[in-house]
């Protein structure tokens, strides 16, 4: 039973991280129908910035939760800035181009950012400093769930709830929903499309950075390549749940996390990804628009 619970919470943690990154994918896709391949790189840059900031701040004598919050904040700000800049450089000029051009631009951006971090920093794994100590109240269950896992799950929950509220009730959220539905009509009604898209990228990148900081804190090491795999997995999660749908991204992330965790625990860790992608293919055969995605019929 303990083993099952351990896998369950392990999957929950993984799934939460996938969900955080998948949210950015799904939001960007919902608004400009672009698979933002550079999104995983934003997550990686978030993790690196947090590592750098934490190291620099700990020299100033900071430690404990203050260090985590401050380093996390810096990472979020920088990731958001990167997301904003990437959109302006690589996607905005291509808004009217054919559908595949921004995709190639995104792949190019992803290669560029990976190599930028590789050259500016290092190709080795860097050990990430432990930013939170184990909570005392988690002592009795520490063999099932670690404190950093609890932190990840709670933060994801808070972020998702905040994001849902933002999209549902704020003015900007309303504008985002309108843009996702019909860009031209939204423009005619006086919505500043460029601003909406920028905000979408900023929010998505911030969430990715939160994920990056938390998972690095949990696993304890990072390198320049982590964004690529996480990005592909998160994209899978977004599609699994139904791309463009926010609850779908979270659900997809969790399902993917659990599948991987249980497959690793009970079958074999070698075939972890095979199970993940196999599940994706299987679900899409029966629900071609993802679990929560709506199938829209084209009207002629």
């Amino acid at each position: 039973m303990d083993y099952f619970l351990e896998l369950f919470f392990g999957g929950l943690t993984r799934g939460s991280i996938y969900a955080l990154i998948a949210l950015g994918y799904t939001m960007v896709y919902g608004i400009i129908q672009l698979i933002n391949f550079a999104h995983g790189e934003i997550y990686m840059i978030g993790a690196f910035t947090a590592l750098i900031a934490a190291s620099a701040l700990s020299l100033l004598g900071l430690n404990g939760p203050a260090l985590l919050v401050l380093a996390g904040l810096i990472a979020v700000i920088y990731s958001a800035a990167y997301g904003y800049t990437i959109e302006k450089i690589a996607y905005k000029p291509l808004r009217t181009a054919q559908r595949l051009s921004p995709l190639i631009s995104a792949i190019g951006m992803s290669i560029f950012l990976q190599n930028y971090v590789l050259l500016a920093q290092t190709s080795d794994f860097l050990s990430f400093p432990t930013l939170v100590d184990e909570f005392a109240f988690m002592e009795p269950v520490s063999h099932i769930m670690r404190s950093s896992e609890l932190l990840i799950v709670l933060t994801t929950l808070v972020c998702t709830v905040l994001l849902t509220l933002f999209i549902k009730f704020s003015r900007m959220g309303k504008a985002m929903r309108a843009t996702a539905q019909d860009k031209t009509m939204a423009m005619l009604l006086g919505i500043n499309i460029n601003q909406v898209i920028s905000v979408t990228f900023i929010i998505g990148s911030s969430l990715a950075a939160v994920g990056g900081v938390l998972i690095s804190n949990h696993i304890g090491q990072i390198n320049f390549y982590i964004g690529f795999i996480a990005g592909i997995k998160a994209f899978t999660a977004a599609v699994l749940g139904g791309i463009g749908s926010i609850p779908g991204a979270v659900l997809g992330g969790l399902i993917l996390g659990w599948t991987e965790s249980f497959a690793t625990g009970y079958v074999s860790s070698d075939y972890e990804d095979v199970f993940a992608f196999g599940l994706l293919v299987f679900i899409l055969i029966f629900r071609p628009a993802g679990i929560l995605g709506r199938t829209s019929t084209d009207k002629v």
Binding site: S105, Q114, N115, G290
Partner: protein
């Protein structure tokens, strides 16, 4: 004159001011990753302030050039009706049989003479470039013509490579007999994948094909009994030349001509296919699925043929790849490979054969010749992909659909042509 120069100066000042802002922004953006270098083991930090200065100095002129090019691009699209000089040159060459024949003959002579002029190393590079031309043309059927976004094309490439490697390893089968088998197996895989995913649209298709590609790679990596796992299969025999022993450099030349012949065959097939009944059905399917079905085109069959034919070509090239390197392992078949092949198709110009050839040559030769920059080459590579897309979103060479012109009287026709030439 004075009154004219004032807005110009104001404009210039504002442009310079904006570029200064941009360069400040980039200094802020790159600050933590470029300047602070952490050594977590010794818990020390290197501050590299000079890098910040270089970034500021480099971004400023780049931003000016960027803004200028953007301005020109916008002005260019405003007067869309006018043809650019490239387009006119292209039409001239196409229209004039003599010029196009001469260029073709010159090109053919160069390509045939290539391995004798250049070193064995250059020929090797050219072989891989030509292999990517074939891969690009194969994927072009799926993506460029049928409009199905396939991100797992490398799976079929792997199927081809592994069929030859395994058949050679276990049964000692030669290259020539394995070539059709590898292509056939890849076709079967294409159909197998094609069936379940045909219901999916656009980007759902993309992720499923991506997943399929990863599954194939992971199975090859982990099923040790079947594929020898990550250590791969070594000692694959090179293609035989009527039983005559060849030296290593002769093998390279021989392989070059095999690939060249296959490329010529591919170009022939693809160009014939494009204007055939099935080719037009692909294009129609790409443009509008519903209208296409209404015209009585069998959607399933059309999509499946595109998938299967695309896969066949990947299978061919897979066999050649195994024969060229004589060693394969799953690391050669990552998602990045699919991304590169897709980039060849889109960067070169979707649906255009010359475009794909140019795209493959640019994307494969660029990193090779950028080796002088060694560690910066992938950085430059990624940046050039973004830049080409931003400034030529339709690809380097735009695909030209076959036109049918209504022939009027002789006199007016000539008049029209002369107009086109002088415009």
């Amino acid at each position: 004159m004075n009154t004219q120069s004032i807005p110009f100066i104001r404009r210039a000042v504002s442009e310079i001011g904006r570029s200064l802002l941009v360069s400040c922004w980039f200094m802020f953006l790159t600050f933590p990753i470029m300047v602070i270098k952490v050594n977590p083991l010794e818990r020390t930090i290197d501050w590299q302030w000079m890098r910040l200065v270089w970034i500021g100095l480099a971004v400023f002129p780049l931003s000016l050039v960027w803004r200028w090019l953007m301005m020109r691009k916008e002005q260019g699209s405003a007067k869309d009706g006018e043809d650019s000089w490239q387009k006119r040159l292209g039409e001239r060459i196409r229209a004039d049989r003599k010029i196009s024949a001469a260029i073709l003959a010159l090109l053919a002579a160069f390509v045939v003479a290539f391995p004798f002029i250049f070193s064995s190393y250059q020929t090797q590079i050219m072989i891989s470039a030509l292999m990517y031309v074939m891969l690009g043309l194969g994927l072009n059927i799926v993506v460029g013509l049928a409009g199905l976004l396939d991100l797992g094309y490398v799976a079929f490439y792997a199927v081809g490579a592994y069929s030859y490697a395994l058949l050679n390893h276990h049964f000692g089968l030669g290259f020539w007999s394995a070539l059709p088998i590898g292509a056939g197996l890849a076709t079967i895989f294409g159909i197998l994948l094609g069936f379940p995913v045909l219901r999916l649209r656009g980007d759902y298709l993309a992720i499923v094909t991506l997943g399929f590609g990863e599954i194939i790679r992971l199975v090859l990596e982990n099923w040790n009994a079947f594929s020898q796992g990550p250590s791969g299969i070594a000692g694959i025999s090179r293609p035989g030349f009527f039983g005559i022993e060849l030296s290593l450099s002769q093998h390279t030349v021989f392989l070059y001509f095999i690939v060249l012949a296959l490329v010529a065959f591919t170009i022939l097939v693809v160009s014939r296919l494009r204007n055939s009944r099935i080719g037009r059905a692909w294009i129609a399917l790409r443009e509008d699925e519903i209208a296409c079905q209404a015209m009585g085109i069998d959607k399933t069959k059309t999509k499946l043929t595109a998938f299967a034919l695309g896969a066949t070509w990947a299978g061919f090239v897979g066999c050649i790849f195994a024969a060229k390197t004589t060693f394969i392992n799953p690391a050669s078949f990552t998602f990045m490979e699919s991304a590169i092949i897709l980039s060849i198709v889109v960067l070169g110009g979707m649906g255009s054969i010359i475009g794909v050839i140019v795209g493959a040559l640019v994307l494969i030769l660029l990193p090779e010749y950028l080796r002088a920059f060694s560690e910066y080459r992938m950085l430059v590579f990624g940046a050039s992909m973004v830049l080409i897309m931003v400034f030529r979103p339709q690809g380097i060479i735009t695909g030209v659909r076959r036109h049918y012109r209504f022939r009027q009287k002789e006199g007016t026709e000539e008049q029209g042509e002369r107009d086109a030439a002088s415009a």
